[in-house]
């Protein structure tokens, strides 16, 4: 052993400096933690002057940072909008980030108080929007909604959006997010397959059951669903209930009213799906299939119907054989006294864009969204991605594929009859309870009465929980 070094237990000057340097590098990492003490709040850029050409008062030379989800739709559409922004404000430096894990990247920046100016909070790793709202991390977009639309003079941004888009981003009366794509839920089938077999899409549940009996005799399973994720079969069930009970039923559910899940409409819809399962109309094994497996089986004509949202067609690109020509139909009506017509569809917007409350350039962020939500930008998006954007009339004049065409027709036929439940975004734990219960229901392990009782119990527990921020509509 080196004796000299042992009698000198003091750190040398150099190692001390080295430690200090390492600590200095590590310190900013720690200060990004919530336990790291006081945050610097970041100073927002003072806004520019508001003019007719610049209704949001953008400061022309303020830099803009945009973070978008680069998933199935890519991020080309966002880059195009940024190019337009730079064309209008040549002095502004635009920083673009197209990411797959948006949540991971922006969560520490929210905590540290230096978020980007625009965030597309989408994808599997997105942050829970209700949590962001409760933490006051998102800003009010009212000024943007009331500003004139970018390429439709005389109309406000608010009036260019499809029904429900503004409501989808509204929490406790404040609109904090704008969703760029429009999703419609329904039942999908192959039009040529049905024509070949002489099957007609049923408008009532009685017709559906009769058709299922016919289909089953041909050796094809009438239904399949993405069993690994029971929320897929929830959608038609809840749509059916919403048609029977109307908006009042949906509001009671979303507002966590006592016995909301015991309303007739919901119990009847649960009974209908229990019967579908009980008659053996669901392809056996569906309950364990992932969405890709179930949808592949459906594309191989092993099952006639599958429930899904309007993303199905682009998801099945390369899987669906040529000439499969899938189309979406509205969920059949359960009773003759339904409060909403057969054409009513569950529709909601997604791909949510927000401007963080602590953004450095909030006016620029809103201006960017005004450009992104212009008709021209939305049209280019629809053309590139065969997906319905949230801007009305964006698909006018475009030649649409069979699936997207059927979705647009469904939206047109529904008119003002689109509806959506908000509890899934407001109360994620309740959504989980509903999914679990429905999975059990369609596997015949619980009765429709048990289904409504156990969901009601979860809803009651949530209503009583004072730590959860509540919303009403």
């Amino acid at each position: 052993m080196n004796l000299e070094s042992q009698v000198r237990p003091y750190p040398t000057r150099r190692s001390l400096l080295r430690t200090a340097a390492t600590a200095a590098i590590a310190a900013p990492l720690l200060s990004a933690c919530v336990t790291g003490g006081k945050k610097d709040d970041g100073e927002a850029v003072a806004g520019g002057e508001k003019t007719a050409d610049n209704p949001l008062g953008v400061k022309a030379d303020a830099p803009l940072e945009v973070v978008v989800f680069k998933g199935g739709y890519g991020d080309e559409y966002a880059v195009k909008a940024e190019a337009q922004y730079t064309a209008k404000y040549p002095q502004a430096k635009v920083d673009h980030k197209g990411l797959q894990k948006v949540g991971e990247a922006i969560q520490p920046r929210f905590v540290a108080g230096n978020p980007p100016d625009v965030v597309d909070n989408t994808g599997a790793g997105r942050l829970d929007i209700a949590t962001l709202v409760a933490a006051n991390q998102v800003s009010d977009l009212a000024a943007l909604l009331d500003a004139p639309a970018f390429d439709e003079p005389g109309r406000k941004v608010r009036d260019t959006l499809l029904p429900g888009v503004v409501e989808d981003g509204t929490f406790a009366g404040t609109t904090v997010a704008l969703n760029f794509t429009y999703t419609v839920w329904g039942l999908w089938y192959s039009k040529p397959f049905f024509a070949e077999k002489g099957w007609a899409y049923p408008q009532t549940w009685a017709d559906m059951l009769a058709l299922c009996a016919t289909i089953k005799k041909t050796g094809v399973a009438p239904w399949t669903y993405q069993g690994k994720y029971p929320e897929y079969i929830n959608d038609p069930l809840l749509s059916m209930a919403a048609k029977t009970g109307g908006l009042d039923l949906i509001k009671a559910v979303d507002n966590l009213q006592p016995n909301a899940w015991k309303q007739d409409g919901l119990v009847q819809a649960a009974t209908a799906f229990a019967e579908l399962a009980g008659q053996g109309y669901i392809m056996s094994g569906s309950e364990a299939l992932s969405h890709t497996e179930a949808q592949a089986a459906w594309c191989q004509r092993k099952a006639a119907f599958i429930p899904s949202g309007s993303w199905l067609e682009s998801e099945q690109k390369g899987v669906a054989p040529a000439g499969f020509d899938m189309v979406m139909g509205a969920v059949p009506s359960l009773t003759a006294s339904d409060k909403q017509p057969f054409a009513a569809v569950q529709a909601a917007s997604s791909e949510s864009f927000l401007v963080p409350a602590k953004a450095k350039n909030p006016a620029g962020g809103q201006e960017y969204l005004r450009i992104l939500f212009s008709k021209a930008s939305a049209k280019a998006f629809a053309e590139a991605n065969s997906t319905l954007p949230a801007v009305a009339g964006a698909t006018d004049g475009l030649t649409l594929s069979s699936g997207l065409g059927s979705v647009r027709d469904a939206v047109t036929a529904a008119g003002s009859g689109t509806f959506t439940y908000r509890f899934r975004t407001w109360y994620a734990p309740l959504a989980k309870a509903v999914d679990d219960a429905t999975g059990e229901l369609v596997n015949k392990r619980i009765s429709p009465a048990d289904w409504s009782t156990r969901i009601q119990k979860a809803a009651d527990a949530l209503a009583k929980d004072s730590t959860v921020q509540k919303y009403t509509r």
């Binding site: 080196n2 000299e4 070094s5 000198r8 750190p11 040398t12 150099r14 190692s15 080295r18 430690t19 390492t22 600590a23 590590a26 990492l29 720690l30 933690c33 919530v34 336990t35 945050k39 949540g103 969560q107 929210f110 905590v111 540290a112 108080g113 790793g125 942050l127 829970d128 209700a130 949590t131 962001l132 409760a134 933490a135 006051n136 991390q137 069993g227 690994k228 994720y229 029971p230 056996s284 094994g285 309950e287 364990a288 299939l289 992932s290 497996e293 089986a297 994620a428 734990p429 989980k432 999914d435 679990d436 219960a437 999975g439 059990e440 596997n443 392990r445 730590t467």
Partner: protein, 294 residues
């Protein structure tokens, strides 16, 4: 350059220690603090709520499901893995070509747990999976199940994957321990007329006891986790209806889906103490009757 050694040691140690403190110890300490707050994961501040998060754990039925499932896994996975590992290792002692087998048994260890879960997901597919197709092929079609979607079998299916993926490693570990046993003991047993079962029970098992103990700790920790396989493979995930829920999954869901980082931290701290207790108990057990070989 005699004193250069001290400087070198410090220079090598300090960065590693600093990294350890920043990325391991500090997050642990912060998790303890966060478990006493209502932090949402995105808020700039966290409010102190005392032991409230821990009190909620007892009333969270999904968390209780997770505790029950982890407890079952804690018993079944180590016992089955060690039994299989020890059995195979002692068979390898007496068989020719054992090196080849040893490599084959080790294969699963080379795959990421996520890959294993995805592959087994295909095996368990009720319509086209290897397992059900195999059963039908040998005329046992009546035994086919929707393995991962049937609450009675889902957890067993998950445990089978965990056992399959870890047995190989313990075969190698026990094989090394068995190789360290002096051959004279086996020869003496053979001369005394002991059969292979008696040799296994009276010589092999007592002399690899310490390896078994270590294996028990590692496997116990793996059984208290199980997150990756459950998250990738099961219905829901964690289903059907909580049948395969594990603590790690509850923690993940509360933190990243529900934005309840404070509550999730409380789960993490509870899991930390469970793991610590397990390790201490397993290492204490049988410490007194340690066998020493000359």
């Amino acid at each position: 350059m005699r004193h250069g050694r001290w400087r070198f040691l410090l220079g090598a140690l300090v960065p590693a220690l600093v990294l350890h403190v920043v990325f391991v110890l500090s997050p642990y300490a912060q998790a303890f603090y966060l478990s006493l707050t209502d932090w949402t994961g995105v808020a700039g501040e966290a409010h102190f709520v005392g032991a409230g998060n821990y009190a909620r754990l007892g009333g969270d039925s999904l968390f209780l499901d997770a505790v029950r499932n982890n407890a079952v896994m804690l018993v079944v996975v180590p016992v089955a893995t060690i039994a299989l590992g020890l059995g195979l290792a002692s068979l390898l002692r007496t068989r020719r070509g054992s090196a080849g087998y040893q490599i084959v048994y080790f294969f699963p260890q080379l795959l990421s747990l996520v890959v294993i879960a995805v592959l087994w997901g295909f095996v368990y597919n009720p319509n086209t999976g290897l397992l059900n197709s195999g059963l039908r092929a040998v005329g046992l079609g009546g035994l086919t199940k929707s393995w991962l979607a049937d609450p009675a079998f889902a957890l067993a299916a998950v445990m089978a994957v965990l056992i399959w993926s870890s047995v190989g490693f313990y075969v190698v570990l026990f094989r090394a321990a068995i190789d360290a046993i002096p051959a004279e003991l086996y020869e003496a047993a053979l001369i005394d007329g002991a059969g292979s079962w008696t040799t296994f029970r009276r010589i092999t098992v007592p002399l690899v006891r310490e390896s078994v103990q270590v294996a028990f700790v590692y496997l116990g920790i793996a059984a208290l986790d199980g997150f990756a396989v459950v998250q990738v493979m099961t219905v829901g995930p964690g289903g059907p209806d909580g049948a395969t829920e594990v603590i790690g999954l509850s923690l993940y869901r509360n933190a990243f889906t529900y934005g309840k980082f404070g509550y999730a931290s409380a789960m993490g701290v509870a899991l930390f103490f469970a793991t610590l207790t397990l390790a201490v108990l397993a290492l204490r057990a049988g410490r007194n009757d340690r066998l020493e070989l000359a």
